[in-house]
């Protein structure tokens, strides 16, 4: 059976935010008039939750002292593919650092970025902490 022909429907027009609301992350570049605000203004909370869950499910933590933290930076493209996965700040424990990077490699690709997010990519700074 041939695959059905598919097309992305036109990108949804962002609904003008009701008074007091905001367009969340879409404010970053082209829509700078939006004022950042309270948590409900962040329109892509579902994406962040899902991203964290997927990364966590691939994270095998070695035993390290409480308070150990590693900071990892990565960039997500529209299709969800990860690039520039880098250790931004070491935990001081190389096996903990490697486990954090491995979780990132294992979680690649993440879900596609939300269609209403207008930019080509999203850079995340993620702290892995014990």
């Amino acid at each position: 059976m041939a695959a059905p022909e598919q097309e992305e429907t036109p990108r949804p027009t962002p609904v003008p935010a009701p008074a007091g609301g905001g367009a969340g992350l879409s404010v970053g570049g082209d829509n700078g008039k939006q004022i950042p605000g309270i948590p409900s203004d962040f329109h892509f909370a579902y994406y962040v939750q899902r991203m964290l869950a997927l990364i966590e499910s691939r994270w095998y933590k070695p035993a390290v002292p409480a308070g150990t933290k590693a900071l990892v930076r990565f960039t997500i493209d529209r299709e969800g593919r990860l690039s520039r996965i880098e250790l931004e700040s070491s935990s001081g424990n190389s096996s903990f650092d490697r486990a954090a990077l491995r979780a990132m490699y294992g979680a690649n690709p993440l879900p596609p970025l939300p269609p209403a997010y207008a930019k080509p990519s999203l850079t995340v700074h993620l702290t892995f902490s014990e």
Partner: protein, 430 residues
Amino acid sequence: MKARVFFITAAALLVGLVVSAQQDDDIYITITQPGLRRVSVAAPPLMVLPGTPADVAHDFQETLDADLAAAAPIAILERRLYSLVEDDPRPEVLNERWRSIGAQFLLSGTVVRAGGQLVVEARLVDLVSGEFAFAKRYRAGISAAPTVAHTLANDLVKVFTGRQGPFLSRIAFISDRTGSSELWVMDWNGDNQKQLTKHNSLALAPTWSPDGKHLVFTSYLRGNPALYLLTPQEGYLKLLWDKGGVNSSASISPDGSTVAFASSIEGNVDIYTISIEGGEARRLTTARGIDTQPSWAPNGRQIAFTSSRSGSPQLYQMDADGSNIRRVSFGAYFHDEGTWAYDGVRIACTTRDEGSFQIATIDAISTERTVIPAPGNNESPCFSPEGSMIAFASDRTGKPQIYITDANGVPHQLTSEGKNHSPTWVGQSQ
């Protein structure tokens, strides 16, 4: 440079975000505890527009419902709750009503016949933000309603996992329903069962190439058990390896270039590799005892296999050149038929548990073992391409039949005619 700070509370997580207005947004997050929760999706039937044949619309919706019910990242909200949601022209009010019955996302859309084609438009709304998490239009021949439904379900899974769902995948298996053991294939849900060989011989142990174009299997077609390569699309059959002895348990490398298999050509049963084009075989194992059932790890760098080198059958892992052998199964005297999940972490296998064969999964990193107890004997497991389901053979109702357990742990019997066993699962062909 402005820095913006948001705090959102996500279930058990406290997530701190810092967004700075650069060319793309940077966000800062801390994660502290593992867990993969399902998202709650309300999925009322898509609206069928006038002129659409009722049976086509029914086929579409029924297939979509069955797929979504088995989708690992999605929990479909109970339909009986939907009637509690009173319609409202204001999206923010309507979204709030859907949220009040427990939905995080709402699937909506239309099904219509346009000319000779079926056109399906589907949208998934994040009920918190009111934004689309997904929107797509599908067009296909009017008879392809199930394929459109499978494609949509696959895409919805991808919204939450980053990977296509398993709903266009296929399972090849061995069936004797025609009187001899032949190679068959079916959809993931048991639909469209098709016979691939009519050799009136004995076919065994099929395995897909990762692109879904070829199957390698063992057949007694020319007398002794030899390896054959079948290209189902073209009906093309090629003898891959027949140098005497017993040759079985093929596994194709993730890049499709190399076949690992077990052979007794030099007396003892050992693991060999051969190019998918044929040619000379290379021996990988040399230990006393039987080494068999190789299975390539998804990274192509390791091969799991069954060995009796320590007495009883256990699973081992080696590098693809035969070096660096280590045992991975512990905790019972019997493990065999190891196969990997795409993640390169989980291995499914068969173990003995309280007198019967049962499926177990082993974490290749920690070697932690989980037995999946079920009635009867349960054997020959393999993961679905995206790792959320396991297919296996079970004699729980008498003769061996192919079953899958979906992501909820619910078993589905896929075959019922004759004896059916040795499933091998592959994703959508490229």
